[in-house]
Symmetry: C2
Subunit: 441 residues, 2 copies
């Protein structure tokens, strides 16, 4: 169960496999063995076919032996959230009405993973429709607690070392919060850096794929392989430079600020204290940024964008089977349908104003540090936790990391969120990696 492969970083595994010192099949076997031992209790996988995953890894080994050039993710097992399409595995959105759904083709980001040599190890549990109602996944640090949502399985898998990295998604707080609760690195790049074709659509202005990993450089390695324009996603963009280069560089010193944000009162007192102590402990100056009540509107603005989007994308399917759909989801569709076209356009306008105003406040910094969550993971009986500390940054399409830098009650992990202006993924990645190195010293 404690095979040394499990403790290696994704970067190091890929390195060994590319050099031919480690077989993809051997790597896959180590993770599959651990899944077999732990997942019956953890419940992080929605779909797993160990024989197929192993066969796919063996094909990677054969291709290499036959002289094929190894890709940048050669042989790497990657777990994929179950709202991201895979042509060879079901993709069911955690939803009863989509049981048995088999997409025709891979999502673009999955296609790019495989083209880079990665192997999809299995599909991870999501909250139903990536919305409110949790799946069965436990928090690896304490089974009575939630792993967070909606990328529950992806965070748990990485924290429990059932896979080195995983893909997740965030339309409000679905990467940052579970990463915080599970003590892993979560990276949600700027809107558009990772295309959404083949990912369950909730609302195109705020739907963000992202990565769960155990280090900033592992997250950056994955983003480098899957980022960039896609004709089917009109908001997609090419990255300006390699995230992995950013993560590995260490000069010059990044410029940091911190903010308690407009929602400070929703953070637990112990978390506020821990965050203040963390900021005070940093060996460099950190400016303070005040984000006042004018930003509170972000919560309602994001909710309206999400409800209008979900009404359009899921409404018709839900109409056909509403008895099988959780009441909260039906209500969200109903709320979306209550909005007029002019109201939706107005929501977008308000979002753009908040975005410009936030960019003005934060663009002098490579990273602005803030809360990733209100505290450590709540009890599973209390739901998947409050996404509010991700809301502002999701709404404006900003890049965001959750970094496992604090500890809360019962020794449960608590993340520090690092954000930057939209498009500043490179600078933010450099700053996040710097921060993790500083904390390790």
């Amino acid at each position: 169960m404690d095979h040394p492969i499990l403790d290696q970083s994704a970067c190091s595994l890929v390195d060994s496999m590319r050099r031919g010192e480690l077989a993809a099949a051997e790597t896959m076997r180590a993770f599959l063995d651990r899944i077999a031992a732990l997942d019956p209790k953890l419940r992080a996988f929605a779909y797993l076919d160990p024989d197929s995953a192993l066969a796919a890894a063996e094909r990677i080994d054969h291709a290499r032996a036959a002289g094929g050039a190894p890709g940048p993710l050669h042989g790497l097992p990657v777990a994929v959230k179950d709202i991201i399409d895979t042509a060879d595995m079901p993709t069911e959105f955690g939803a009863e009405i989509f049981i048995g759904r088999r997409p025709d083709r891979d999502a673009v980001i999955v296609h790019r993973l495989r083209a880079a040599g990665a192997v999809v190890i299995g599909k991870t549990i999501t909250s139903q429709y990536a919305l409110f109602v949790p799946g069965p996944t436990q928090n690896p640090h304490d089974g009575a607690h939630t792993p967070g949502g909606s990328s529950s399985g992806s965070a748990a898998v990485v924290a429990a070392k059932l896979a080195p990295v995983a893909l997740g998604t965030q339309t409000n707080g679905s990467i940052i919060r579970p990463a915080s609760y599970c003590g892993v690195v979560g990276f949600k790049p700027s809107l558009g850096l990772l295309p959404r074709t083949g990912v369950l659509r909730q609302a195109t202005l705020i739907d963000h794929p992202g990565v769960m990993a155990r280090s900033v450089s592992d997250a950056a390695l994955i983003v480098d392989a899957i980022a960039g324009e896609d004709p089917n996603d009109s908001l997609s963009r090419n990255p300006m430079a390699s995230m992995l280069d950013a993560a590995l560089g260490d000069r010059p010193l990044p410029r940091f600020a911190y903010t308690l944000g407009p929602f400070e009162s929703r953070a637990e007192p112990a978390t506020r204290q821990a965050f203040a102590a963390f900021i005070a402990s940093l060996p460099i100056p950190v400016d303070a940024i005040v984000l006042g009540s004018e930003f509170v509107a972000a919560e309602a603005t994001l909710r309206d964008l999400m409800s209008a989007g979900v009404a359009e994308s899921l409404g018709p399917d839900i109409d056909n089977a509403s008895a099988k759909v959780p009441e909260l989801v039906v209500q969200l569709v109903r709320a979306g349908r209550g909005l007029s076209g002019a109201e939706v356009m107005g929501t977008w306008t308000r979002r753009d104003r908040l975005r410009a105003s936030l960019i003005e406040r934060i663009s002098d910094y490579d990273a602005v540090l803030t809360f990733a969550a209100s505290g450590p993971a709540p009890l599973a009986s209390e739901g998947t936790g409050d996404p509010i500390f991700a809301t502002l940054w999701t709404l404006i399409g900003a890049p965001a990391y959750s970094l496992p830098l604090m500890t809360g009650a019962k020794g449960l992990p608590v993340g520090v969120q690092a954000v930057a202006a939209p498009g500043r993924d490179w600078e933010l990645t450099r700053a996040a990696a710097w921060l993790m190195r500083a904390a390790a010293q």
Copy 2:
């Protein structure tokens, strides 16, 4: 009236002024003299203050004499459509209810023009609200004909040599069509290349600023100076390379295709013949692309996006003064308000599908040639002409040129439109410049 300055390109004027061989004031005086002679009949300017324009040019000369480095548009007079904000001139949208409106600040593209050393010579006539109801501007080739709309004054000013270049905007066909009718080069870059902050908002997914010029390289010179990200415009992007470099380069040979598009039947028979003859005359192979009836939906999709957008942006002002607003504009607002939020989201989805499908068809080519307008400029009494041949490309945010390469009845000019996949502005500019050079030989 026929001062040699008037016939020089913008590139050549800037060159002479940057080298100190020509004063900005002398340039300005030549254009102001011509305006004084011709504009009383042409009616292309909505606002003109010759003394202030001359004073601004003199300040440019003084700054240079005092040792200031000349900018890339040093001393260049630029006319600006009256829906683009200028802090020192009224910006009235051609609309009775906005008479006397004085913006607080320049639009971002105007700010960048001035920062590059350009001088705003005056504001040009637009259709009311940049919508259906024309202003008084005549077509310089024949005063009984429309210059097209809504960038009527900007096209007429450049065609009549009242200014070397002008800014316009296009939400459906408002640059390509007037450029075609007036026989000038119109360039509408990809959505996002020119930011819209300070430009009358109709619908953010389809609002495009652009340039009227007498050559591709003059248009490229202006775009280079004003393109790029703006925090207040969340769809804005940085260009990948210099458009002027593209216009001046001539290797390798661009790849061309042509299409008659899904709206061929709305082109006049003579225009269809002229276009076929033009394609046949090209000294290189030109592939044919068929765009069938599945693209007809673009017209209704764009109309819905526009009506929802106008309902949001202009609705409140119009409610307060509807007696002074043309009935067609009031109807557009009413239509927009009739759309639900889910319908608006659905419109965006349909637009994205059309976009992906078009990109797939055209992305092998540097330029796809098609109609710019249904024919030469109609009589002014018939309105501003049919924008349909720009609709597809505006809807998907593609870059588009109108190039003055054909002639219709009474010797009136007719443009050839050249388009490319969104983001391929550089390749398209290179191809457009190549085409103009080939036609001149």
